[in-house]
């Protein structure tokens, strides 16, 4: 059976991100839409957390608020103790698609946030991340000549190049075919193992969440609340046909109210 954890992270780890009683209400043409309702969450340093929920439930809104693109209507979000007020290179957002700049080459994109560095160091970093995401040979290619998976790798490389504290990924593999998606998940985990950043990952794919995350935050439909936080206690690399995996996954299925058979 799935375990519901209290809202805090494992005790020995420092808290990186703290969401405190955040609510979001959008006003449009006189109508109020309640998107988030009293969300509280703590994410530890180096943790991989997934926000899981159906489309439109507000998880992207929460992620945008964490990045500083939106301000919560009430409540606070703190990163390393500081309140988040605006976007910052320490918390890089990876978009679902078309986030890479089409007018820059692969090198240009990865080097985008590195303009303050001396030239030698910048080139070294770019080369390092080109290699890490597996885009060697494409340094001078423009994004329109890359496949969807390669574009997402480029975006991740661009994000990592500035050495952020946190990565916020908004359904980054949503626009890819399912085979590429599986490959990309593996790549992301590989990169995460190499550079242990705090990651908050939004998805609507239950399998994806259970395959990737240390903890899965299951969110309800709008107005979103945290339904449950599931601790995935399987070590990487995860065997997706192991009984424990299936048990955790089915638990979430049931929690969301989905039947086992199609």
């Amino acid at each position: 059976m799935s375990l519901t954890q209290p809202v805090s992270a494992p005790a020995a780890v420092t808290i990186k991100l703290s969401v405190e009683h955040v609510s979001m209400v959008f006003e449009r043409d006189g109508k109020s839409t309640h998107v988030l309702n009293d969300i509280s969450l703590k994410v530890g340093d180096g943790e991989f957390v997934c926000l899981l929920g159906p489309s439109g439930c507000g998880k992207s809104t929460l992620l945008n608020a964490m990045a500083g693109f939106l301000s919560p209507t009430s409540g606070e979000i703190k990163v390393s103790g500081e309140v988040v007020r605006k976007p910052d290179p320490r918390r890089i957002f990876v978009f679902q698609e078309r986030g890479v700049f089409p007018w820059l080459t692969v090198e240009g994109n990865i080097g985008f946030g590195l303009s303050k560095l001396p030239r030698a160091e910048r080139e070294q970093r770019i080369a390092h991340y080109v290699k890490m995401v597996g885009l060697e040979g494409f340094e001078r290619t423009y994004p329109q000549e890359l496949s969807g998976g390669m574009k997402q790798r480029l975006e991740v490389a661009r994000a990592l190049a500035v050495n952020p504290d946190m990565l916020l990924l908004d359904e980054p593999f949503g626009a890819l075919d399912s085979i590429t998606r599986l490959i990309m998940r593996g790549e992301l985990l590989r990169i995460w193992e190499a550079e242990r950043k705090t990651i908050v990952f939004v998805t609507h794919d239950i399998d994806e969440a259970v395959q990737l995350a240390d903890r899965v935050v299951v969110m309800s439909a709008r107005p979103a609340t945290i339904q449950q936080i599931v601790n995935i206690d399987i070590a990487h690399p995860r065997d997706i046909s192991s009984p424990r995996y299936l048990e955790l996954r089915d638990g979430i299925f049931q929690q969301i109210g989905l039947a086992h058979k199609l």
């Binding site: 990045a67 976007p87 078309r98 986030g99 820059l104 423009y142």
Partner: protein, 260 residues
């Protein structure tokens, strides 16, 4: 996608040549059949063109027209692009300036001639001012729409990487808007070419437009008139094609959909 089989490679050359030949034949025979003494036949136009080239008149007029376009269009770019980018970036500013622009824009540059003559006298500068007017508004409009159509992902990504507002404008908005700005510039250049010809017919005494009017007035040389008109068309087309080459540059290519 719609008709019959895919045309073959040679057909790309065959059909235009065929159609043009057909048109020329039609032209020739209507002139012959109607017995007109004034309207030229294709052959007469060809001879007229040769005459113009030989007397070096044509080259000087072409240079004059191009010169005026360069000056007027250049000024329109220098003033219009920054203004358009600013208005696109600050919608509040756009809202203030927009009504005035909307009223000024439909006024044909030619209608500005009396005003232009007051400020610049009759001559080159008045013509350049008219060209400037003709190109200015399309450029501003294209820049405004280019900037406001930049997808918000790019803006957010730029802010995410800690760019200040001027940096955001230079490193994200401008490159992202460039394809649309280029289209606007190309269209404005086409308009500039139309205006220069019209301006030369009225306010100056050199250039291709003047050649058209003058050929008629001094001797009803309609063969020269038509020759000059065709020259205007060809040069206008060359300008357009040259500009389209810019659109193929790799750092803007992404913004255009090219035929395969």
């Amino acid at each position: 996608m719609n008709s019959l089989s895919e045309p073959r490679k040679w057909e790309r050359f065959f059909w235009p040549i065929f159609a043009s030949a057909l048109l020329l034949a039609l032209w020739h025979y209507s002139v012959v059949w109607s017995g007109t003494k004034v309207f030229p036949s294709p052959r007469e136009v060809e001879k007229g063109m040769g005459e113009l080239l030989r007397h070096h008149v044509l080259w000087r007029d072409i240079v004059d027209s191009l010169r005026r376009v360069a000056a007027g269009f250049g000024a329109a770019v220098l003033l219009g692009v920054p203004l358009g980018l600013t208005l696109g970036w600050y919608p509040a500013a756009n809202q203030v300036v927009n009504p005035v622009m909307q009223v000024l824009r439909p006024i044909s540059p030619i209608a500005w001639i009396p005003v232009a003559i007051i400020f610049f006298g009759v001559g080159d500068r008045a013509a350049m001012f008219l060209i400037f007017l003709g190109a200015f508004f399309p450029i501003v409009v294209a820049c405004i729409s280019g900037v406001s159509n930049v997808p918000s992902v790019f803006r957010r990504a730029g802010r995410n990487f800690g760019l200040t507002a001027p940096q955001l404008l230079a490193k994200v908005l401008l490159p992202a808007a460039l394809p649309q700005i280029l289209i606007g510039l190309r269209i404005a250049l086409g308009i500039a070419w139309l205006v220069v010809v019209a301006a030369e017919m009225i306010a100056v005494d050199s250039g291709l437009g003047y050649l058209v009017i003058d050929s008629r007035n001094s001797g009803k040389r309609y063969d020269l008139v038509v020759a000059a008109i065709l020259m205007i068309g060809v040069i206008g087309l060359v300008l357009d094609l040259a500009f389209r080459r810019l659109e193929k540059l790799r750092s803007v290519r992404w913004g255009f959909r090219f035929e395969s």
